[in-house]
Each structure stands twice: as structure tokens, then as C-alpha cells.
Symmetry: C2
Subunit: 333 residues, 2 copies
DNA sequence: TTTAGCACTCTTGTTATCTGACTGCTAACG
DNA sequence: CGTTAGCAGTCAGATAACAAGAGTGCTAAA
């Protein structure tokens, strides 16, 4: 589709623009980059790239700026994903080797490390336990009418939840519940504790319905629940010239501050390993000038959370993707 | 110190400035407020108020702006704390009556409600359990080397923590631990589980030191721990003209984004019910143009967390204090 | 096909000017 | 003696005119 020279020019423009945030001119390119062609030739190619919608022009006599289509082409065809330094690798290793008590802390560490290295805002949401299997499930009576359920999954996730009753629960009953649930559920997939499973348990377990039922409901909720949004480096946007304008900064903060929106953003992009969504591609207009890169932190097939990077469309995709790929590799050790 | 007319003028200037964020002029005051004096007289008084440092003047021919000392005088002497509408009361009631499973959720709800009603950014940190007494303490074995301790306090706080061991723990041992800890600690104040208590337990409990010791350490940490910072309404700053400038917005976001700083801010102001810190009064230069109002959410003598409101020095102190006072009353029901 | 050269365009920064909103001061007033 | 009308003086902010500079598109030659 694009000849080699045009590809090189497009790549140079995008990389230059990512660095400087200024429209890129033909003269600049021919001087700074070793393309061995004159600015006039570059101008001709730029005109064609603009005609083909890979580039935009803020006004008649200005340099060129990559368009959404341009970025997409760059990400799909030209992106190098080994753009990572020794120091960065070491830093990631260092951070991820920290001792953590709960697996969710690892997601937090990964998120903050990502923000530190890329200088973009990063966000994360804890994983649901749905892809995990139950390894152990324990019930603890707190007071007389409050029961706490602690679920340990084979992925190492620990989910606690609290169930309140209207009547007193005896230690005897707790022992029964403990036994029944473990006998029936240990080793089973959590994905199955839903309606049909509930019926199964209720019928199989042959234990007082008014106790079993609220427990199952609450556990179900705890499994699906991933409400804790983790945000790191919100103030990083002030390092970037596109957010010097009041409107863009405001818009960005609005997106970040809307918890429901952040949750949805992190929960899209199911299939792929790393999901990149550039400006207009995003389904929310609020994000039309922003790009979002998300990936699931999957360790040994178990989902541990979703992490994302959000920044201007002029994002250093190469750096971000390189760092994420390395991090994913390290997380799996 | 100030005669009545000067007080009225100062109050009018502050309230006008809080509303408009524009320097207040003498002509404006004599027209809009029913002071029954001419603008010339107001000008004379304003000059004296400025000389006494209650007011500042951005430049020679501009109106007046309250100084830090002015706001302080207003807060101490002129502030009305019943500046709350029926609707606001109802809204607070409605929000606080929601069923919550954990007491900490109540702090979150209070925080977000506060931000919604005042239109300022609000922040909160969960309470340490230090002022509470132990009501129940349970240990749960998760896997072979992971022990979870769940502590229930008389204030209704539930603190969980995880202890990892290098050797396997038997169910037998867990039963022992359960018994020992409950026998020794139930009803005791959590403030006492520190070094001397540790020695006491170790000597009294006469149980394997290599098991007891890490448990006590970890529990101690869990009691003191209040790391979860809760932030609501960060984007609210964009509603306020003082943050239209890049620098002020950036500074604000930097403060908010620095978790350590936020923690410290919320942990100052011990004694009073409601602690107000205006601009310069604050010990951090980053906050010199900001005001902070904090209060501890104390229910029946037990600390449940600290909540704060942060905004420009031109904050609607009257409204914020009124709402907080009402909220505190409701929280205690 | 590539390139040098040049006219044309448009943004950005600078300076000058004008307008309007205030204040401070003076002198008159009750 | 406190209060007020009147007026000169000050300064921020808006507007316009202008100059400089960066870049493009096009033409014609290599």
C-alpha cells in the first residue's frame, strides 16, 4: 500500500511528533533524519500521505501531524516492541521481586512501576476470581450474626466477604457450613457458582435454606466484584503540552474521575494480549483525543487484574508496548 | 478590635468574594448589600481593613480580596454554621441510611456525599483500630503456610491480615493459637498490642515463639495500617476560576496525587472536632493557596476514619462547616 | 523522478492605543 | 467629626496593527 520511502517518512513524522508535540516540517525531517532526500521530495510524499489520510495539517502553512489512521498504521505495521533499556528491565525486575502478602498488591506495584517508567497515567482494577478454582473456603463467625467467608483460589487470590444475618448463628452451624461448602466446592471452578450451581448446592447440601442462600449470593458477588480502582500518576498529564489547555486537562480529569467509565474502559479489549485503542477508535467521545493501552495481568491462565495506560494520542506506543511486554513476561515468573 | 460596621463590611467582602472570585469594589458593596452607607465611606473602612491586614489588593486600582488573616477572622468570629438547606439534610440522611456491610464503606459514602454537596474535592483515610477494643479474633488457615487473622473490634471495625510462614502449620496449631489469643486479648484495647504487650504475650502464652511472633507483628501492623486513601471529586477543581491557570491546577493535582502528603494532611489536626487550615497556615508550601478542612469520623468514641475537604482559600467555609456538623450528628446515629 | 527557488499563507509575538473599573484624596456637608 | 460627592490618577485587559518566521505548494530546471 505504501512504498518504502513513504513508510519511512510516516514513521519519522510520527516518532518526531511523539517526541516534540510540534507539527513536523519537511525541512526538519530532511535535516534530522538520514533519509537522503530533499525537503521538496518529502513535501511531495507528505502531500500524498495527507491525501491518503495518514496525516493531518493544522492549517495551510504548517507542518504535518499524524492522524488516527496514521497512528494505527504505525502501531500495526511499524512499531518496534523491543524499545526498552537495560535500566528499565532492571527496575521492573527489582519492583516485581518485592515480597507481597496478597496477589493484588502485585497488580498495584506493576501499575505504579508502569506509570513511573512511561510517565503516563496508569490505572488498574483487581481481577475477578471467575477464572479461578476454589482451593479452600473458610467461614468465620464474627460476633453472633456476622459471618465472614474467606475464599482462597488456586491462583492465589484471596477474596473475603461479609454476610449478615437476622438471627444468631451458632458455632455448630458454622462448622456444618464449612464442611458442606468445602465438600461440595473444593477444586471446582468459581465460574460455576451461579444460578444453576446455586440450585445444585441448595438441593445437594440439604441444609437450612435461609442460611445457605444469602451465603451463596454474597460469595457470588465477592467473586465477580472488582471495584477497587487503582490510579497512579494523574498529575503526569501536566508534563505534556497537549494538556496545557484548560479544556483538554479538564476532559482528561473527568474521564479519570468517573469510576464507572474507568471500570468499563478496563473491562473492554477481552481477547488480545495487549489492546490498543487510539483516539477516535474509542467508543466514548470523551476519549477522542486520548489513547488507551490495556492488558490483562494473567498468571498461569488465571486473571489477576487489568492494567491500563492512558495518555494523549501522541503516546509513545513503542516504549509503552515494549515495557508492558517485558513486564508480562516477568509477571509470569 | 473591629467596630461593627467594619465587621459587616469584612463579612460582606468575604462572602461576595467566595461567590464571585472577583476582587470586591466599594461601589458594588454599597449597591448590593444593605449597609446604608456610601461607597466613599466603605472605601475609607476598606483602606483601614487593608492597613490592618484583613484585606489585600491585587493592584492599586482594583477592588479588595480577603487575606489569610481576613479568612481566619471570618472563620473564628463571623461564620454561621447553620448554612444548610432542608434538601441537603435529606440528601445526607438518605445517603447515610444505606445498608453497608463494612463500617469503612460508611466513611466512603460520607466522603462522596460531602464532595457532591460542597462541590469541592474530598478525601478520606480509613481509621486505625487503635482506639478500639478487641471483641473477637479469629485465625483461618489458608493452604498450608498461610494464616489469616481477622480482628473484630467493639467499634465494628474488621481488620484482616495475612501471615506467611516458612513451615507448614497444622489445624491443631491454629486451634491453639485461636484459643491463646482470644483468652489473652479479648476485651483488651488494641493500643496495647505493642512492644511491652508483645513480651507479655510471648511469656504468658508459652507457645512456640516462631509462630507467635510473626503473628503479633503482623497484627500490630494491621491495626496501625490506614493506607487506603479515598478520593472523590478531583475534577471539581475545574469548576473554580482559580484553577484556570496551569500552575495552580498542576500544583493542586500534585498535592492530591502525592499519597504520603495526603495521609499526613489527614492525620494532622488531632484535638478539635473540625480542623480548619487556611492557606499559609498550612505547614506545606504546596498548600499555600489552598484550604483544608478535616474532621475525624468518631462514632461512640471510636475512630472510624478521617475525612477532609480541600479547595481554594476562597472556600465556602460556612457551607462546608454546616454540612460537616450535620453529617457528624447523623453519623452518630 | 528529484530538486532548487520563490511566492504565498498563516501563526505567533510585539507594540501601541483605548476603555472601563477602581481607588485615594480633597473639599463640602450635616 | 464622621460622612459623602466629585474628580484625578492608576492599572488590567481588550483590540488592532504590524513584523517576523516557519512552512507549504507550485513551477521549472536538472
Amino acid at each position: 500500500m505504501l512504498d518504502n520511502r513513504k513508510k519511512r517518512i510516516l514513521q519519522a513524522i510520527i516518532e518526531e511528533y511523539i517526541q516534540t508535540a510540534e507539527p513536523v516540517s519537511s525541512g526538519m525531517l530532511s535535516k534530522k533524519y538520514d533519509l537522503n532526500i530533499s525537503s521538496a521530495t518529502i513535501r511531495n510524499d507528505m502531500a500524498e500521505l495527507e491525501y491518503a489520510n495518514f496525516l493531518d495539517k493544522p492549517h495551510t502553512s504548517s507542518g504535518r501531524v499524524p492522524s488516527g489512521k496514521g497512528y494505527r498504521y504505525y502501531v500495526n505495521e511499524l512499531l518496534k516492541d523491543n524499545n526498552i533499556t537495560k535500566q528499565e528491565m532492571q527496575y521492573i525486575k527489582l519492583k516485581l521481586e518485592q515480597k507481597v502478602n496478597e496477589i493484588e498488591d502485585l497488580t498495584k506495584i506493576a501499575t505504579s512501576t508502569l506509570s513511573e517508567l512511561t510517565h503516563y497515567t496508569s490505572l488498574a482494577i483487581g481481577g475477578t476470581a471467575i477464572s479461578h478454582n476454589i482451593e479452600d473456603i473458610k467461614f468465620v463467625l464474627l460476633g453472633n450474626r456476622v459471618l465472614m467467608a474467606v475464599i482462597l483460589t488456586d491462583g492465589g487470590l484471596i477474596k473475603e466477604t461479609i454476610i449478615k444475618f437476622n438471627a444468631d448463628i451458632t458455632e455448630e452451624q458454622v462448622r456444618n457450613i464449612n464442611q458442606i461448602f468445602n465438600a461440595n466446592l473444593r477444586g471446582k471452578s468459581l465460574a460455576k457458582i451461579d444460578k444453576p450451581m446455586e440450585e445444585y448446592i441448595v438441593s445437594e447440601m440439604s441444609y437450612e435454606l435461609q442460611i445457605i442462600k444469602p451465603i451463596i449470593e454474597q460469595i457470588n458477588e465477592a467473586i465477580l466484584q472488582n471495584d477497587d480502582i487503582y490510579l497512579e500518576g494523574t498529575n503526569r498529564i501536566f508534563e505534556m503540552p497537549e494538556f496545557k489547555s484548560y479544556e483538554t486537562a479538564r476532559n482528561f480529569l473527568n474521564v479519570i474521575d468517573t469510576k464507572g467509565l474507568v471500570k468499563e474502559l478496563l473491562n473492554t479489549g477481552q481477547g488480545e494480549e495487549i489492546h490498543i485503542s487510539i483516539g477516535d477508535e474509542n467508543q466514548y467521545i470523551e476519549l477522542k483525543n486520548l489513547s488507551l493501552i490495556t492488558f490483562k495481568n494473567i498468571v498461569e491462565g488465571k486473571e489477576m487484574g487489568t492494567i491500563g495506560i492512558i495518555g494523549p494520542t501522541r503516546m509513545d506506543y513503542s516504549k509503552v508496548v515494549s515495557i508492558i511486554k517485558y513486564m508480562l513476561k516477568e509477571l509470569n515468573d
